[in-house]
Amino acid sequence: MKALQVIDQAFRTTTEEQDDAILWLTRSMRGAGGDLMVLLKGHAVHYAVLTGRQPPLTLGNWQQQQPAELHRDISGLVESGVAVYAVEEDLIERGLARLPLQGGVQAIPRTRIPALYEQADQVWHW
């Protein structure tokens, strides 16, 4: 069974959970043997061009010690064999198209999305 994780919500939970909850879920299921792909669309295409950790939150004397490392989570997925795609037009609309994509992330035009969906047995839209 192959599942396609479609993520279009960006930076959801990243401060409190120290990651993106769906990237985390995908890495965990991959570790359990899951066969998965990831499609970044909408605002989530920002994940494809991140190069550093999220800025730590400071509230009074409290400062976050371990902010999210989304670039690490994306590269970890790619290294574990999960294909990660980003929608080309969504990168262009956000002025991100000229930035280098993280290693292994593949930009695809919207016209290729149906074919990607066809490769999956289940499509999970988060």
Binding site: M1, A3, Q9, R12, T13, E17, A21, I22, L25, S28, M29, A32, G33, G34, Q122, W124, H125, W126
Partner: protein, 137 residues
Amino acid sequence: MSTHKTLTFAFMDPPFESERTVTFFRLLDAALERGAHVRIFAYEGAVGLSFARQAAHGNAVHNRDLDSEKHPLTREWIASLQHKAAAKGLTFEWINCGLCVDERGVNEVIDGCGRGGPPDLWRYATEAFNTLTIGTR
């Protein structure tokens, strides 16, 4: 399991904050009504749906006391769907993401709801006719 189809649901929203929560429960009820086995993976805030300490309250604005207000509780909706499934000879399984439970301190859950993790979602999905994920917005 019988020849009935099994549907898996993954849900992220907490109780009392979003209409998605009500819609999610309507979908569960409809799935049972149509004879499907149902499996749920509760993720993030959705682990609060089965919290056993949810308590009803009266409402002065409604001019009703505790007994007459009959405030809805998601733990009671889950229990009701468990009974509906049992009456129809269907399965109704519910697993909460354990880490999500711990960080929210909602460890006390009603009977029939268990603790697990993403491998359980993957197992549920692999064995299901299909999976519906409903993320937080």
